[in-house]
């Protein structure tokens, strides 16, 4: 953990972040079109289509309910994909990380740079969903801007978790376990699409152990103009989901590349 804190303060990881940002910059056009287009289509179709059947949920229109869930889900997806497919490609296929280790960069520097980069992409996608939601009238007031720091923290958590999976993978196929066994259930049972009130108690309890639910508990009230409850608790859980996986990923990647 000390190595990670030292690496964080040294700011050397910024060079890794800049490397990824430079690559992204080459294809920023299509990337941003996806960032805007996807949530716009989903919110329009599901929000208005399903919303017409559902009416109000927890005191807000269905499209507003869905939009706050979508902000969190897009953070999860963006950070996970970057931390898994892109990072794995850089580690195992392109050997970009190996080349970095010939320079003064350490494994902790590389993983910090990768984590912050994936979280930055996640933050950007959250910002676009928020923008689209605001455009569709699904956001209530400026308190919603507090969603952005929550999205960044959530992005850091999902990026760090993804890097653990990357660190132990031997091929791209392995990632399906992570998506099927963890991310998809999390997406379906954390309250992105519907409230959890009518779910069995066990499902709710399990969900509360996972980061997505905590992000939604913070984001949903903020987007409807309310101050969330238990803010320190939710932030603490998300912070733990950043730090522990990052520490673990650093150990695993060190073991993998330093031999």
């Amino acid at each position: 953990m000390r190595a990670i804190i030292q690496a964080l303060l040294s700011l050397r990881w910024l060079a890794v972040w800049r490397r990824n940002a430079r690559v992204w910059g080459k294809l920023a056009g299509p990337a941003m079109l996806g960032n805007i287009g996807e949530p716009l289509l989903y919110l329009l179709a599901l929000g208005f289509g399903l919303g017409a059947l559902v009416g109000e949920v927890e005191g807000v229109s269905y499209i507003a309910f869905l939009a706050s869930g979508f902000v969190c889900a897009s953070v999860m997806n963006t950070a996970s994909f970057e931390g898994i497919y892109s990072a794995y490609t850089r580690m195992a296929v392109q050997e970009t990380w190996t080349a970095m280790l010939y320079t003064p960069l350490s494994v902790a520097d590389i993983l910090l740079g990768e984590t912050v980069w994936a979280a930055s992409k996640a933050l950007l996608s959250a910002a676009f969903v928020l923008l689209v939601a605001g455009f569709l009238g699904a956001v209530d007031g400026w308190l919603a801007l507090w969603v952005l720091p929550v999205a960044l923290l959530t992005g850091l958590a999902f990026a760090a978790m993804a890097l653990v999976i990357t660190a132990i993978s031997r091929s791209y196929d392995f990632f399906l376990y992570y998506f099927t066994l963890l991310l998809t259930p999390m997406l379906l049972f954390s309250g992105v699409f519907f409230p959890l009130d009518d779910m069995p108690g066990l499902v709710v309890q399990l969900t509360a152990l996972l980061p997505l639910w905590h992000a939604i508990e913070l984001v949903r009230p903020l987007m409807s103009g309310e101050i969330p409850g238990q803010i320190p608790f939710h932030l603490l859980v998300l912070a733990l989901y950043c730090l522990l996986p990052l520490w673990l990923a650093t150990r695993l990647v060190s073991r993998r590349l330093h031999r």
Binding site: R22, V23, E95, A99, T103, H258
Partner: protein, 301 residues
Amino acid sequence: MEPIVQARGLRKCYGELTVVDSIDFAVQPGECFGLLGPNGAGKTTTLKMLLGMVVPDGGELTVLGHPIPAQARHMRQRLGVVAQQDNLDPDFTVVENLRTYADFFGISSHEISARLDSLLTFASLEHKADARIDALSGGMKRRLAMARALVNDPQLVILDEPTTGLDPQARQLIWQRLRTLLQQGRSLILTTHYMDEAQRLCDRLAIMDNGRILDVGTPKALIARHIEPHVVEIHGPGLEAFRHGPHVLRSELIGETLFCYTDSERALVDALCEHPQLSYLSRAADLEDVFLKLTGRELRE
């Protein structure tokens, strides 16, 4: 002068297997030091320990005045590495590769801009500055990897099999560039499978096998120490008769070829002329003879 690299009793084990077995060697400033050995001899592990990528299980190691691995990060600030697999960044052009790599050393954009032209000239890639990596030939990639290893103006450059997989023309150009680096006063450490390459470039070399250094010296000294001055290779029916031919000090039958080691090849060649059914090759002893004598002729796979 203090050596660039000093290893004493350097050791690395993976489980039961001792990959590097208490080796000692030193690399002097400005020299080209070669590590030769069959596959699995422990060359790559030795290099990785020098880089601080692999932590030794025993012994002392100093590189560029820094104890390794304790101060590997400081040492790498003044080190250049050309890996066996080029691991260039395929998402970037030639120039972007150099700029991005400089960023990893904390070199400012301004500073690297001033040096880009000379790096591109060194790599003979002036005309490819904005080309994508997948548009480069094998030789170009290797030259770019060398230029990339120079962005931090290193004192020591480590190259793992720098010309493996390249055609003869591309190899010649790499050799020229390696000599340029030596003229600039940098020290080089390289591993290679090519004896001609080692003989041409290395001031001194160490022959490794099974994790140990079998001998160290200049190419000439190694040849003089282990092999008779001349080798005559004989092929054809009835070659057995020459096992104890004139002036043959030692001979080996390998497959269908007889290797005769001699201090004077004249008499042997004269005798061979009377046997037109035999083909022969008379040559000076070289590093390959030393290598095969020290490491044996069994195939390593």
